[in-house]
């Protein structure tokens, strides 16, 4: 028997002898699915309840900061309140109908006076002079991937209307068209302004950029501007993940 014939014989034998294991393909997937993407049986309605509870808790904490941060006892109280934000917790993220339980880590910025939980398996936080920039952890060296980012900025010397004008100018100057401008409750109570590029201008329509801005007015002359940048194909991935992180955004006060 020639060498190729032997080789073929051995291969056929191996395929034949391992045929029965393929019956376990589906059950093996079920185990993987259960381990990686555990289903969380929670009613959607509960998210709203949770949001209300979080908002009440957040407002209470702001009040306590204001009340107690002016003296020594107050500072100690503030410290303990800071400890209320656990360093790590689990968060449910719903992507394309599937629910994922993610480990998220607390990112505190006392200068910008906010906290936010970050999914550090996907993202990293870069502290800049006047803002925090959240970028994908994975660096794409050889592939040209459109920008994905979330920048958190604080404004105290500008009115809300002026900030809205600035955002609108920035979107239109980037060549994007505004397709959403409205008050929203999710991921945080704020005004959202969203700009989308023209798909016809991109070789791959999926690369069309989306710039989403949230303007959060704390009501005390303090405005937060959160700018998210992603692209059409990533809308159901990063677009959702960025908002899930933003859902945990809380204002803290150092005054």
């Amino acid at each position: 028997m020639s060498k190729p014939e032997w080789n073929k014989k051995i291969k056929n034998h191996l395929i034949d002898q391992t045929e029965s294991i393929t019956e376990l393909k589906e059950s093996t997937w079920q185990n993987i699915d259960k381990e990686l993407f555990p289903t969380v049986k929670k009613k959607k309605r509960r998210r709203r309840t949770k949001q209300v509870i979080v908002s009440i808790a957040g407002a209470a904490m702001i009040m306590l900061f204001i009340m107690f941060s002016s003296n020594e006892q107050g500072l100690a109280m503030m410290q303990s309140i800071r400890e209320i934000f656990v360093e790590e917790k689990k968060q449910i993220v719903e992507l394309e109908g599937n629910k994922e339980v993610r480990d998220v880590h607390l990112n505190k910025n006392y200068q910008l006076e906010y906290v936010l939980y970050v999914d550090e398996s996907y993202y990293k936080v870069i502290e800049q002079e006047n803002s925090d920039l959240i970028l994908p952890k994975m660096e794409f060296e050889d592939i040209d991937v459109p920008e994905i980012s979330m920048e958190i900025m604080q404004h105290t010397d500008i009115s809300k209307d002026e900030l809205i004008d600035e955002v609108i100018t920035e979107i239109t100057d980037s060549g994007l068209t505004i397709n959403q401008e409205e008050e929203v409750m999710y991921p945080l109570e704020s005004l959202v302004i969203k700009g989308v590029g023209n798909t016809e201008e991109y070789a791959n329509p999926g690369d069309t950029p989306i710039h989403r801005y949230y303007i959060k007015d704390t009501g005390s002359g303090q405005l937060f501007l959160i700018k998210q940048v992603y692209f059409l194909t990533a809308a159901e991935g990063h677009g959702v993940r960025l908002n899930s992180m933003l859902e945990t955004f809380e204002v803290i006060s150092n005054n």
């Binding site: 028997m1 034998h13 002898q17 294991i21 393929t22 997937w29 394309e96 994922e100 990063h238």
Partner: protein
């Protein structure tokens, strides 16, 4: 790497679970066959493939998409298989290669067993090292160089293991060393 693998991996990196399921659909059959050929135990093979895919998903960020996926994937699968075999204390059950040869000579002269039964017996009785290279070469179609890289041994060692593995099977079938 096939362009399909590349597209799927890019999507998985962005968190697309459906893309991960598609990747499973493409590679799971041969992964299961390979794990089964190595362990000869269906339950263990399923567990190994399960762990392999979980590791792939959790470490997909570290995978360089400019490199081929299959060798990276099978390296994880092989490591999982070894870990599993060690854990299950099955390594001790492997028969020494030289010992197997004695049996092969015996059966090759008996002539009362079917050819297929002989091969089954031979592969099953090969020690882990020889069974592994034979499986990677003939079931998965990897080149000698790729197997060497996966197992982190030199090319000549793999050639030698393949030669010995093939030789056993030929002897079982009543062939000669020169074939």
């Amino acid at each position: 790497m096939t362009s399909q693998d590349k597209k799927l991996i890019k999507k998985i990196k962005k968190g697309n679970q459906r893309a991960f399921k598609q990747l499973y659909e493409i590679h799971s059959n041969y992964a299961l066959r390979t794990a089964y050929a190595i362990t000869r135990n269906q339950s263990d093979a399923s567990d190994i493939v399960q762990e392999t895919f979980i590791r792939v998903y959790r470490n997909i960020d570290s995978f360089d998409v400019s490199k081929p996926f299959k060798p990276w994937f099978y390296q994880i699968l092989i490591n999982e298989s070894k870990r599993y075999l060690k854990k299950m204390s099955q390594v001790e059950m492997n028969v020494e290669f030289e010992h197997v040869l004695d049996y092969l000579f015996y059966f090759s002269n008996e002539g009362d067993m079917s050819i297929r039964e002989d091969i089954e017996w031979g592969i099953e009785q090969l020690d882990e090292i020889h069974r592994l290279v034979i499986t990677l070469k003939y079931l998965n179609g990897f080149s000698v160089k790729e197997i060497a890289e996966m197992l982190e041994v030199n090319v000549n060692t793999i050639k030698s293991r393949l030669f010995k593995g093939r030789k056993q099977l030929k002897l079982i079938l009543g062939g000669t060393n020169n074939e």
